[in-house]
Every structure is written in C-alpha cells, then in structure tokens.
C-alpha cells in the first residue's frame, strides 16, 4: 500500500539539513563514513575478486558452483553490513531485500541453483566490485580536505556522501519490486472487493432500517385512515395528515441515502458541482475550486467525491475551524485533492480513525494520502489519485 503517512514532522532522518560553514553532527558522521570507505571497500573488493575467481575458475569442476553460491550468500551479509553503515552514518534508509526465496525445486541442487541466481547477491557483488576506486578517492579527498580545505569541507563532504547515497540506493535496495507489487495488488484487489461488498450490505441495512420501516408504518396508517374515513372523518383527517408528514420524512430519508450511495449531480455535472453541493451542507464556509480540463473516469470521480465529503465531515465535526477550502486539480497523470482548514489540527492517521480508512481506500487504487496537521493547526490533507480518462 502506498499511502504515505506523513504527520507534522517530515522525513527528518533521510535528508540531513543543508550544509553550512560549520561542522555539525551530520558533517562529522559523513566524514567518518567517507574515511571508513577505504578499508571497507578494499575488503569488499578483495572478497568479490577472490570468490569470483575461485568460483568461476573452479566452475569447470563441480566444486566451483557451491563456492560461488556461498560467495553470493556472503555478499548478502556484506550488503546488510553496508546498509547498516549507511543507515548509521548517512541516515539513509534502504529497505532490506526479501530473504532468499525458497527453492522451487527441492533438494540440494535446487537450493544451489536458487542461490546462484540470487539477484540480490549479484548486485551486492557488483556494488563491492565498483566501489574500490571510489573508496580510495573519498578517503584521499576527505583526509586531504581535513587539513587544507577546512572551510569548504562540509560542502565537499556532502557532495561525496550524496554520491554514496545514490550508489547504495541503486544497488543495495531490494530488487523484488515485481513480487512486492503483485502482493500489493492482490491485497488491493481484496480490499476493493471487500469494501464494495460491505458497502452493499450497509446500503441494504440502511434501506431496511430507514425508508422501508417508515413506509410500513405509513401503509399501516393509511390502511387505518381508509377504514375510518367514512365513519369517523375527524380521526381520519388527523391520520391522513400524519401520513402526509411521514411521506415527506420517508422521501427525505431516501434522498439522503441516495446521496450517500452516489449523488446524481456527480453523474450529471461532475466533481465541481457535486463538491459545491457538499460544501453547502458543511457547517463551516468552504471555498471549492475545481480546475479540471475534463472529467476523469467515473470510478475515480466517485472516490474523489467521497474522499472530499468525508474530509469535510471531519472538518465540521472535529476541527473547530472557521473556514475551509477544497482544491481539485490535475497534474500530469494524477488527480490531486487538497482540503485545508484553519482549525486546531492534531488530525492523525492512527488505526481506527476515519482518516486511516480513507488512506486504505485510496491506497487500494494506488492513491496517496498525506495528512499535515500540527497541533494548533492549520490542517492540510492532500490526496492523490491516478487519473484515468473516461471510457
């Protein structure tokens, strides 16, 4: 699920503050990283060259293949150590790759084969192989810089460290994106199917408890009135009057239910009109700006509508805001929604809140949901949906 969860504090760890003409904690850590590059890369290089030459050299005899497989397993460990070093000193968070998959073919040979084609191991090998000259370079530059480039060293160090970050991110990050994507999509599909089924059950229940009950009562009242009409016209008049009131209530209930299912104005006129109509029912004055060149696919439009309407409900209920705004626009192949209010903030995506339900729903269609709501306000909620054109 890609619902990025951002509360008031941005990703502080991943991105250190901009370099200054001073040596702060980050700079010192980076210097340590760059200086340790030399021994570490040397070790890695020697390891890779040794295992590769032994493994490949002996590959002609059968013994080379297990050696190579063991070497790749070792490379995985090397990669883990490198990720830990980058995490500790560069503040770089790279996800751990999935463990070696279980062999599809059982037995000794199956395990060997799956070890030999382990892409993570091979990429770590590559990483270690190309890093030696870079390690020499960073070591030298940093060491020399410590003595002669003292004033600008923070900037130099940041530049070198950024190159290191890029390398680590490219070669040490997990490569099983397709597998992860498949797992994510399967769960997404499950979420969508289950929510749809739950939606239908809720609607059926609402109908049963609301309009249907009211109509039964109305039918009963009218039945009685009909009988009395000629014998006791006064009592009958009261009953007809009551029934008239009931019908109006039943209509109101049905209308609310229908709007909750899918507002007709959304089908007929699109997001702008539908959102304006939601805004007028909000207890807080809301300014709606929808800037869309054309209408997106119906499903996307529906999700966008219900997202805004739930967010505005939150604004009415919890924010204590005096005004709010809704912006909807398109950026490349994404539909963006932003709801802002000047309330007291403190909204969170904790489990069980309406917000986390929204994040799940959006996540299931590759949407994003970002909440920025520091205590004391203001709150900005941004949602992003994939843009699909109308069929």
């Amino acid at each position: 699920m890609t619902a990025r969860i951002i509360t008031s504090e941005p990703e502080a760890v991943d991105r250190p503050p901009a370099p200054r003409f001073a040596f702060d904690r980050h700079t010192w850590k980076e210097i340590v990283y760059l200086l340790t590059n030399l021994p570490v890369t040397l070790l890695g290089f020697v390891y890779v060259v040794t295992t590769l030459s032994i493994g490949v050299g002996l590959a002609v005899t059968v013994i080379g293949l297990p050696v190579l497989a063991a070497g790749l397993l070792g490379a995985r460990l090397l990669g883990r150590a490198e990720r830990a070093r980058a995490r500790g000193l560069l503040g770089l968070r790279v996800e751990e790759p999935s463990p070696l998959p279980r062999a599809s073919v059982d037995g000794w040979f199956g395990r060997l084969w799956s070890g030999l084609k382990d892409p993570v191991g091979w990429r770590t090998m590559l990483y270690s192989f190309i890093r030696l000259p870079w390690g020499v370079l960073t070591f030298t530059v940093t060491l020399v810089g410590l003595f002669v480039l003292w004033p600008v060293l923070p900037f130099v160090v940041r530049g070198l460290a950024n190159a290191d970050r890029a390398m680590a991110r490219a070669l040490l990050s997990p490569s099983d994106e397709l597998e992860r994507r498949i797992a994510e999509l399967e769960s997404d599909r499950g979420v969508v199917v289950d929510t749809a089924a739950a939606d239908l059950r809720r609607i059926e229940r609402d109908l049963h408890d609301g309009a249907q009950a009211r109509l039964v009562n109305l039918a009963m009242g009218l039945g009685l009135a009909k009988e009395k009409l000629l014998e006791d016209p006064d009592a009958a008049a009261v009953m007809v009057d009551e029934a008239h009131g009931e019908v109006k209530l039943a209509l109101q209930e049905l209308r609310d239910l229908a709007r909750g299912i899918h507002p007709a104005v959304l089908t007929d006129r699109g997001l702008d009109a539908a959102l304006s109509s939601v805004a007028t029912r909000c207890t807080v004055p809301v300014k709606v700006t929808a800037d869309l060149p054309e209408r997106p696919a119906e499903a996307i439009e529906g999700i966008a509508y219900f997202t805004v309407s739930e967010l505005l409900q939150n604004v009415s209920k919890h924010s204590g805001a005096r005004s709010a705004s809704v912006d909807v626009w398109r950026s490349a192949d994404r539909l963006l929604i932003q709801v802002r209010d000047d309330g007291r903030g403190g909204a969170s995506l904790d489990k069980g809140t309406g917000m986390s339900g929204l994040a799940d729903r959006l996540g299931a269609v590759d949407g994003l949901f970002v909440v920025d709501s520091p205590a004391g306000g203001p709150t900005t909620v941004t949602a992003e949906l994939p843009w699909r054109d109308r069929a």
Partner: protein, 219 residues
Amino acid sequence: MRVVIAEDSVLLREGLTRLLTDRGHDVVAGVGDGDALVKTITDLAAQGELPDVVVADVRMPPTHTDEGVRAAVLLRKQHPGLGVLVLSQYVEEQYATELLAGSSRGVGYLLKDRVAEVREFVDAVVRVAQGGTALDPEVVAQLLGRSRKQDVLAGLTPREREVLGLMAEGRTNSAVARQLVVSDGAVEKHVSNIFLKLGLSPSDGDHRRVLAVLTYLNS
C-alpha cells in the same frame, strides 16, 4: 386478546400497538430485541399471564440478522400454547420451514407490507392467537415453486392451485370462499379434489388440513 410486540423500530412498534389497541386488543408489552422478548415471555409465564400471541420482527439488535426467527422457534418450543406471528421486510422459505418445523399450530409468517390491509392483518393475528396459521402468499408461492412434487402439482386445475395456495396460507374454507367469491360448497368440492389428487387422506379441522398440505409441500 393479549399481545406482546417485539420490534426494534420505535415508529413501527407504536404503530402496531395503536393498530391493535384500536381494535380492542390488549398490548401487554413492547420490546426491541430478541433476548428481551424471550425474557418478557418467560416472566409473564412465571406470573401465569402468558399472552395469546407474540408479534415479532425478524431483524433486531444486536446482530440485525434473524433474532426474531430464533426467538420465535425457542418460544414455540417452551410454550406450545403461545401463538407466534413473525413479520419481516422480506420472506424466505427457509425461515418458514424453520418456524413450521414440528407443527403449524399458532404460527404466522407475514411480510410487513401486509399491515397495510388493516382488517386482514388483525384477522391473521387473531387466527394465530387461536392456534391457526397465517403464511404470507409469497412464502406459499415459494413453497409451491420449490416443492419436489411438481408432476403432481401440475395435475391440479388453475382454480385448485389457487385454493391450495389459500389453504396453505392458513385460511378457513369460508375465508377461501369469500376471497374467491364462490360458495362454501364449491370450495369444499375443490378441497376434496385436491386431497384426492395429492393422495392425502381427508382430515377434519382447518389446522390439521394446513399441516397436511404444508408437510406435503415440504416433503
């Protein structure tokens, strides 16, 4: 007639109460869920004041599924003399089968819509209170449609099928005659024809007759 009503919608509960009171019946208690219904009846029975009939909704809190049916089955087992009329927004033949399991004495299962015909509805309540049967025409249609004896049923004339349906709803001969605008004698003739064609031995009394028909359809 003393009635207990179990219905979670306050609106409907009051409506039903008014309707029955208006007709001179005594609504002893009104409750909102299945457990409360069973408890109320148990309490009343302990005081020796078992009501004549219970009118219960199917879908009630806490689970909003089939509380009413389950409570009705339980009450019928505990108090064989108690009439139970189950009301619902939809009728399902499965629930009817569960309610009728064992005996069709003092059982009713109607769509809520039927309260619109006030007189017929109150008649049905009274019938159930007196140990009769009141099945919704929709249930009967489902029973007829689902029955495995289609070949035999196909042998009935359209009018006989009509009479069979009305009989299965729990109506007496004269009620059937009134509905079809024919004489009592004509109905008698249809009934004996039906019993002959279905291979049932003619039985006296409306209740036993209904039971025979329902057992036949369900077998």
